[in-house]
Amino acid sequence: MSEAVASPTPLLEFRGINTHYGAVHILKDVDLAIYPGELVCLLGGNASGKSTTLKTLLGMVTPTTGEVVLDGEVVNDKPTSYRVERGVTMVPENRRLFKRLTVKENLELGAYLRNDDGVESDLERIYEMFPRVKERLNQKSGTLSGGEQQMVAVGRALMANPRVLLMDEPSMGLAPALVQTNFELIQQIHEEGVAIFMVEQNANMALSIADRGWVLQTGRVVLDDSAEALLANPELRASYLGDGNR
């Protein structure tokens, strides 16, 4: 990585990752590094391998070659639960709440692997952060509006007490007015010291809050730079950002 960052050891790292679905080659020699407390984003079009990157980070897809490194330890053959316990948590695409369970049950499931005493106080923290969620604790999460579901999804992920939050297309399927609020929320979480790895199609918005970014094209990292540089990159502007300001 060319970036100079505060902490020397990355929290989560890809070293020459290749993944395959059957014979199909998805990720090709991907190198990534997420440092503690960073806000970074991964951009890319459809079928560029964004979701596979997330699944590989979380251990739901095993790479064919290369190393996934968590806190300096190679975790290729460690299960998802091992990584979740060590602070890697995902907010899935389209929120994917447990729709028939209540809001409270969803939040509790976020803390499934925790058995420390902090769970109750973390619940309180989530209620403070999202007063709307507290009002609807015993409601089935499937009956919430899109914006509220996003709050619960983020809350559920925060309940795992993460050090890095993997967000899969956080603005997908949200009303335009909510997209802005959502990015503000992401920044707020970031300011509390949680590293954020965001996969987005909304490149403009994502880069405006991110420190760094990568651009993924058909499984290969084609651009790797600071957010400002990427925003200014003419190639990227042409292919992802439309003609500048949308």
């Binding site: 739901m60 447990f98 369970l101 049950e105 499934y112 089935k140 499937g142 009956t143 795992a160």
Partner: protein
Amino acid sequence: MSETMNTDEAGVLAPARGAFDQDWRKLVNWGLICALALIFVSLTDMPDKLDKRVIVEPLLSMGYLSLIWIPVALGNFVTREVVLEGMTQHKKGLRELVAGVSVGAIGGAGLALLIWLLDTRDLSDPLVNWNDALLEVLSFGEGVGYGAIFWILASAGLGLAGGAFHLLSAIANRLLLAIALTIVLTASLESALDDISEGFQLEWLFEALFEKKGGLSVQGAIILAVFAIAWVLVLGGQAKRGRAAVTARRELSPTKVNTVGLVLIAVAAVVLPMFLGRLTNDLFTNVGLFLLLALGLNIVVGLAGILDLGYVAFFAVGGYTAAIMTSPSSPGLSPELPWWVAIFVVVFMAIVAGLFIGAPVIRMRGDYLAIVTLGFGEIIRLTVRSDWASGFTGGAQGILSIPGADIVGVATVKGTDPQQVLYLVIGFVAIAIYVSWRLENSRIGRAWMAVREDESVAEAMGINTVNSKLQAFVVGAILASFSGAIFAAKVGSVFESSFKILVSIVILVIVIVGGMGRIAGVAAGALVLVGILGGPNQPGLLAEFSEFKLLIYGALLIWMMLKRPEGLIPNVRRSRELHQDEFLQDAWLKAQANDDDDEAASGEVAPA
């Protein structure tokens, strides 16, 4: 015509429509449905087979009841309207009656046609019930012409009655329904009531209601009708209020247990078997055995969302293990352990079987999983029957002379004493209910529900989905094996034919009809299906119905899926979810309308 109309709901009713202002196409459709239903029921031979089961002597038998409810119901449905906000509601009047009569008459004409065909054609080749006995019952032995005209008129009259329900006030409707249900239910429960009344020294009451040769007496029917009216008028309101209170409380704290109810049930479970006769005790034992199975399947399907269609396999494992361990005549291995020791072996074998079947199956999802489990269910049974295993299982000869269940220091429960077996079953059901309830509200229960809802997200939360599904499978297997072990001790023998796929299906129907994921619902399902209609090989209260059991199971299942997918005793939350489309759409439309207004307003005001 408008004098006779329903003035119950005062307010903004539009005047009644003309008697012939009908949707004729709809009428004919419903009429044809009525005709087809009547012909279908006739050809299942219900009218003939159930004629001997009298409801009110000498007026009505189950056989005729199986026909006459059809025109009444359809004559009512044809003019039933779903009333939504903003729809014009007309007063009810002659129009509803005309519709009812027409539907009934078309239906009766269909039946008349069948009578004529029965007389002139012989279609007994594909239709096994196409015979003179059916003709005899349908035409009352008075000839084709009489039968045909009778049914057209009777059916039209019944359709008229069905339509007339729309004109009656709500309370009158409720009264009539209560009377009909009370009479039919009491008559259906005749044999059980006979049995129970002996235990409670209430023979005098039984004799007051029922004729000696079977069926309610006219006098008995009148007593019941008066009772039903009193019930509705005096107690109806209170019961409703009580239920509303319970529902409200359950919504507030869904996991809180109703202590009073629990104590009452516990007392009843201890005391009741003493007063019940052989027949009812045996009946409840069968209900209990299936309840045990259904509680297990409820964990697998209802909580963990694994659609296991071969669940009978674990019932078989329990039954055969108990048989081999306890019976002196089991071929091959015959340790002749006492039953209470054997039960530990049973649990062990259930765990082994659960892991053995579960491990390969659990990695599949949805339809694939269902089909593979279906296969495993049969594989276990066929293995038991095969030459390879018959050295241990007796093959088609089964294992005989299984001694009763010997409970150390307490008693030996013999199959010949249904009361003892019932106590044994109640004990195990109590354990199963407690385990289900504790698991449901535990960490592992929550993991199961998460896996059921969304497996990959559950995995992303750090839940080991394979393990938790296997755990559900094994817990389900253990509960089923208990049922199998008691079954073996009760019957005294096991044969592979007791473990056919039909058992799996019946258990699944119990879980679905009762209300998936809810213990009380599963209990209600077992009581209704196994208790009243009967299990796959066990007679229920309506022994005469055993031939039509599967037909009724199927009809009930379809009806439940369409009208009450949440089951008989629903989970409050789940019921709201299943019906939420209806009011969510409403809410959405309203919100939409508001938004449009807001936007329009703000759009105009904003520039200023």
